[in-house]
């Protein structure tokens, strides 16, 4: 097993409020890992802490066996890509500018161009709207830009925060279709979803987060066996 990301004993939070309590997590290269669980229990906080947007109170985050520096920009440069919740696009930039920002740290222009073509192939809609400003896009289109921008970094690990949040079922299908394609190409992905059913078909490893730590972890097969446990947490 080739470990790509290793998180050990990570605690973090907002100002005086501790949200994460010593979380540990390992991600295998080329796999899709899902973090599931009810809202408000620290899933997004975990991604932000790993990405460096929130300070690490205790613990270590390692990528490819080396500890990451604290600053978010340096972690991004090291190959850690976060597609944040609510897209966080550059609203006054065009779709294409947003995508190019995703490739900000890359220097090989030809390779960037190839990734851009890949994104446009994956989301043809974005190609149509490449010159439009992000603030004029629909919710689904924004999500596509967000994911596309994440792809542009060609990072080692893409972390996607709630890709289905607030979207119509048809769009959700498209988004997950795209994630499947990415996963099939060998992209390592860490995805956060409230509802495990959406990610069940994509991910190979699952962690259930509750109260700022993992209450349950297991493989896709284990998940299928443990529907009772999940029900208590997710009320489903």
């Amino acid at each position: 097993m080739d470990t790509l990301l290793s998180v050990q004993g990570l605690s973090s939070g907002y100002r005086h409020l501790k949200v994460l309590h010593s979380v540990s997590l390992e991600i295998t290269r080329g796999s899709v890992t899902a973090i599931i669980g009810p809202n408000g229990h620290g899933k997004s906080t975990l991604l932000k802490a790993i990405a460096g947007l929130l300070p690490t109170w205790t613990g270590v985050v390692m990528l490819d066996g080396t500890a990451l520096p604290a600053a978010a920009s340096e972690r991004a440069r090291a190959g850690l890509t976060l597609v944040p919740q609510g897209d966080q696009l550059f609203m006054n930039m065009t779709v294409e500018e947003n995508l190019l920002m995703g490739a900000y740290v890359r220097t090989d222009a030809a390779a960037v161009k190839r990734t851009l073509d890949d994104v446009f192939t994956l989301f043809p809609r974005l190609h149509e709207r490449r010159g439009q400003r992000a603030n004029s896009l629909s919710g689904g289109e924004r999500r596509m830009v967000g994911i596309g921008r994440g792809m542009m970094a060609a990072g080692k690990l893409v972390m996607i925060d709630e890709p289905s949040l607030g979207l119509a079922p048809l769009i959700i299908e498209q988004i997950y279709g795209a994630l499947n394609l990415l996963a099939n190409e060998g992209q390592s992905i860490l995805v956060v979803e409230e509802n495990p059913s959406r990610v069940a078909g994509v991910a190979s490893a699952f962690h259930l987060m509750d109260g700022g730590s993992f209450a349950w972890s297991g493989s896709a097969a284990a998940l299928a066996r443990s529907s009772d446990v999940l029900k208590t947490y997710l009320g489903g």
Binding site: G52, S73, A76, Q88, L89, F90, E97, Y104, R149
Partner: protein, 292 residues
């Protein structure tokens, strides 16, 4: 007809100076939410640096200009490295930074007064003479002012639109966190922004002093105007600030001629107030960026 040409010339000259003075301010506000009260001092420092070099060492004009602009860049980076950097992410940054930069401005203005005195020196960086256009005399200095402003603002616009460097600045302005996630070293971007503001302001200072002469307090009036232009434009809108400055220059010149010179500024300010009341985000601003 003569009057109309004269108004346009005056309007463009004033507008060009205002634009240079305000674009940097708009950029700093737009990227870091900072009202830089020392922005006027960048102008003063640029003007005095260029004056000192060419009068004391007899440096040729272009060199003196470059020196003035460098002085602006240095002041900008020092302001960031010594002060702004430490305050940037603190609570109430918007108000505390005003006081801190005002403190810088008070001290710098005093130092310049001590070093140079209050005598209004002539700025050597200027070109004398004029030509006639349809009976109206146009000074070469006005042409230089408009050309230099167009050049610098054009360069900035190109930088912001077409380079990776500019893309990073705009990204930081729009969404600091997202910019970091793209690998943008935002702290460095802030430094770059203040340096750019320093460069533009010192260029503005050199041009303004070519008309008004040098004095330690020369930056005060342009600073106030620059603040107001930034409001009309919509805070943080860089192209808006440039356009608004030209419009305000033309407006002021026209009001001065048709209503009376003393009403040029107040009527324009009245318009600003009305514009804001009916278009709260300014002429070119975007609601979602600034609404609290």
């Amino acid at each position: 007809m003569d009057a109309a040409i004269q108004i346009i010339i005056t309007g463009l000259t004033l507008g060009a100076m205002y634009a240079l003075a305000s674009v940097g301010l708009a950029l700093t506000y737009g990227t870091m939410g900072m009202f830089n009260m020392a922005h006027g001092m960048f102008m003063t420092i640029g003007a005095y640096a260029s004056y000192s070099l060419s009068s004391a060492f007899g440096a040729p004009l272009p060199l003196a200009l470059v020196a003035g602009i460098c002085a602006g860049a240095i002041s900008g980076s020092l302001l960031h490295l010594l002060i702004v950097r430490f305050m940037l992410h603190t609570e109430d940054f918007q108000t505390t930074i005003m006081v801190a930069t005002a403190g810088v401005a008070i001290a710098l203005q005093d130092l310049i007064l001590k070093r140079y005195g209050a005598y209004p020196f002539k700025q050597p960086a200027q070109i004398e003479g004029s030509f006639r256009l349809a009976g109206t005399a146009i000074s070469y200095q006005s042409i230089v002012i408009v050309a230099m402003a167009a050049l610098l603002i054009g360069a900035l616009a190109w930088l912001l639109t077409y380079t990776k460097f500019g893309l990073a600045i705009r990204a930081t302005a729009m969404n600091q966190d997202a910019a970091k996630l793209m690998g943008v070293r935002t702290e460095r971007t802030y430094l770059q922004v203040i340096v750019i503001a320093g460069v533009l302001a010192s260029a503005a200072g050199i041009l303004i002093s070519s008309l008004a002469g040098l004095s330690p307090a020369m930056g005060t009036d342009p600073l106030i105007r620059a603040f107001i232009i930034c409001v009309v434009a919509g805070l943080g809108s860089v192209t808006g600030a440039g356009l608004a400055a030209i419009m305000m220059g033309l407006f002021e010149a026209a009001i001065s001629y048709y209503i009376g010179a003393r009403f040029g500024l107040p009527v324009m300010l009245g318009l600003v107030v009305l514009i804001l009341i009916f278009r709260p985000a300014g002429l070119f601003g975007r609601m979602e960026v600034v609404r609290s």
